[in-house]
């Protein structure tokens, strides 16, 4: 590592400046004017390249499209190199108003594009801001490429701001919920670790990684010889053990009524097609937890999602195959509900039901954060990426099929399809209840949006649990970019920035991106609306404005009733009213086209139509719709 050219001179200058500042502000300047020889030696860069230029070369080699950041002095050298030396392309700099927005944008982007976005932040205060969004990405198994600025060498910390922005071990704050990190001490080291970080992040299970860009390395001229950028070679995703896969196939083929529970299965469109192939080969019900776009929702084998697809009813099945399932134990057990005391749990599966799990997450378990869920007493547990394992499983199933089993499966498939026709009709009938209500029902909201986007190349980038899963129940999802699941870590504040990141990824494909936006979520960091306007990211935001942190309001009400204390105080600390928040005004202030608040359901369709026209012209739009709670 190169050292300061004139450490003594620098220290003397700073000492003089400090004394001067304490006694008379203009003193150091006067002193310098009176005695030029006492001024520090200042080197003016000529043709020398700073280390940050080489870092840009390295990071460009990883072909990331964007870097989202709130500006910070600890990576000023790198930022300047990106926008000037790097031409502000691949990656292009995105101006964010909060590091949580940067990270959540990267989260949404990755789930559409299938690769990481880079974000940058201070190693201290910036990472502190970003940490919840990084946790969400970790729990959601999403790649993210995080570069932190930090000044490790005390000699280079200029003043208090750089001391309080410096840290011994920057990544330690989030190491429990990232996959890998490094703090390179030379540029050669930076190059190797940068390439390694990308490869690790993009090997299933996908997770965030951190690379610390030391401030001195960024800002001092390059002195190292023979610098090179290692070749990036991606790892093939891990597949399940072949003998275990054959055994899984045996259980599935012999089953009378198997179910496939899909968690975060499909990383690509190919993953969806493979899951369809497996389900059709077995004529098995697919219970989609809606953590990714796993399975076409109009497929005859799609199981009734109900209102809470994450908690499927599995009581009818004798073999249950879980593919990258989050909380598989929770999906197969019932616990004492909140309106009772104590805690007991009972299986919800039928006695003797066999449980098979295929998941890569067991390759990356950590101890502190408890996202791994309760221990699953599976009959067969296969460690491996589900999408990568599906071809072998399909082949093994086909090899074990007999004519008798095929006939049984065909009968089973016909019954599943008939049940599907019934539950779909039932959902339509339920949607009609409260159709004309004000506040507007979430069923009406979802149906009105669907009516206007169904013939477009659309992408819904919000999760729909808070709208009683109405889009899942009414829309026709088939492509991998049409649904991206939820936050992962259930950290609120994800929705708006993740939607904007996803819309950014959709932009070059010309897709119409829709975000049904929860009001509580928007208020964490609404400045990201400005980012969308500034960078011209087309996106139709439709507020699900129920004027509350509604889930928490229900909890408070439940406990108040449970303890017989009255329920009239449930709004304290949970309601977002008095005054009502005007989201259209907020959005307009950030430069968006906006309408609302919309309270009459008959006003909804024309507003959506106008919004879509604006989005198609390349703008972000916000429609504030006052809605029923769920």
């Amino acid at each position: 590592m190169s050292k300061p050219k004139t450490p003594n001179g620098r220290r003397n200058f700073l000492k003089g400046a400090a004394v001067g500042a304490a006694s008379f502000v203009a003193a150091p300047i006067v002193m310098a004017q009176q005695n030029p020889s006492s001024a520090p030696t200042v080197e003016v860069a000529g043709n020398e390249k700073p280390g940050s230029d080489f870092m840009v070369d390295v990071l460009k080699s990883l072909d990331m499209e964007y870097c989202a950041a709130n500006p910070g002095s600890s990576f000023r050298g790198l930022q300047e190199s990106f926008i000037n030396y790097g031409g502000n392309k691949s990656p292009e700099w995105l101006t964010c108003c909060h590091e949580e927005s940067s990270a959540a944008m990267a989260h949404g982007y990755a789930k559409i594009e299938g690769k990481p976005m880079m974000i940058m932040a201070h190693g201290t205060v910036g990472l502190q801001h970003a940490s919840m969004a990084i946790y969400n990405a970790y729990a959601d198994r999403v790649p993210m490429y995080i570069v932190l600025g930090n000044i490790l060498d005390v000699n280079y910390r200029r003043g208090n701001a750089e001391w309080v922005h410096s840290v011994q071990d920057a990544a330690s704050m989030v190491r429990d919920f990232i996959k890998w990190d490094d703090t390179p001490v030379t540029l050669g080291h930076f190059a190797e670790s940068a390439v390694r970080a990308y490869k690790i992040s993009m090997t299933p299970p996908y997770e965030p990684v951190i690379l610390v860009a030391d401030g001195t390395l960024q800002e001092e001229p390059v002195k190292e010889k023979n610098l090179r950028i290692p070749k990036l070679v991606m790892s093939a995703p891990p597949q399940g053990d072949s003998a275990a896969v054959v055994e899984a196939a045996r259980l599935l083929v012999a089953a009378e009524n198997p179910a496939i529970v899909a968690g975060r299965v499909a990383r690509t469109q190919k993953g969806i097609e493979l899951l369809v192939e497996l389900a059709e080969t077995l004529q098995a019900t697919v219970k989609d937890q809606r953590m990714r776009m796993n399975f076409p929702s109009a497929h005859p084998l799609y199981g009734d999602p109900g209102q809470l697809p994450q908690s499927p009813n599995l009581s009818d099945f004798d073999v249950i195959l879980g593919l990258e399932v989050q909380d598989f134990w929770g999906a197969t057990h019932r616990q004492t509900p909140l309106n009772r005391f104590g805690m007991e749990s009972t299986p919800t599966t039928r006695p003797g039901a066999k449980i098979i799990s295929i998941s890569a997450i067991e390759l990356n378990h950590k101890s502190n954060y408890q996202d791994f869920g309760r221990y699953v007493e599976a009959d067969l547990a296969i460690t491996g990426d589900a999408e990568a394992t599906l071809p072998a499983l399909i082949e093994a199933v086909r090899k074990q099929l007999t004519g008798d089993r095929r006939r049984v499966m065909q009968d089973r498939g016909a019954k599943i399809a008939e049940a599907g026709r019934k539950w779909r009709q039932q959902h339509r009938e339920t949607a009609g209840v409260g159709w004309d209500a004000s506040p507007i029902s979430t069923a009406r909201l979802s149906a009105e949006v669907w009516a206007q986007v169904r013939n477009e190349d659309w992408s819904l980038v919000s999760f729909d649990r808070m709208q009683s899963s109405w889009p899942t129940r009414l829309w026709n999802f088939s492509k991998n970019y049409q649904y991206i699941g939820a936050q992962g870590g259930a950290g609120i504040g994800y929705g708006l920035p993740a939607a904007i990141g996803a819309a950014l990824a959709n932009r070059k494909h010309g897709r119409l991106t829709i975000n049904i936006q929860n009001d509580g979520d928007l208020n964490y960091a609404p400045g990201v609306l400005w980012t969308a306007a500034h960078h011209k990211i087309p996106l139709l935001n439709i507020m699900h404005n129920n004027r509350a942190y509604h889930e928490e309001r229900m909890y408070i009400q439940m406990f108040a009733a449970k303890f017989n204390r009255g329920v009239e105080n449930g709004d304290i600390g949970t309601a977002l009213n008095n005054p009502d928040i005007n989201y259209a005004s907020i959005a307009k202030g950030y430069g968006l086209y906006a309408e609302g608040p919309i309270t009459d359901p008959t006003d909804l369709a024309p507003a959506i139509r106008r919004g879509i026209e604006r989005v198609k012209a390349g703008e972000p739009v916000l429609l504030d719709v006052v809605t029923q709670p769920r």
């Binding site: 506040p439 979430t442 009733a561 017989n564 029923q628």
Partner: protein, 118 residues
Amino acid sequence: MMKTAIVIFPFLAIAAVTLSQTKPGDVANGRRIFMRNGCYQCHGTVAQGGLAGPRLAQTKLTVAGFTAYVRNPAPGSMPPFRAKVMSDQELADVFAYVQSVPPPVAPANIPILNDDAR
């Protein structure tokens, strides 16, 4: 709903005695109570139901059954609302309100729900 009816059956006799003292339900007051006590939070403002609570509009329950269920709900459903929180008369009013909600519009009469998209 069938399971609900089975669960509440043992409570009906007790409820019937108490409810004999209540007046016919007042729809307007029922709506006020429904909103004030947060019933709408799970069931929706027109009792249409949703993720957290079932539809109550045009419930098939009697007022006695309705009251009995609210007092002693099934495990895993809503919290119990005792008389201290909602009197029998207030529950009768709420019952009148949820019964007064107009029937749902049939999907056949809603063009955007009556399609073959799925």
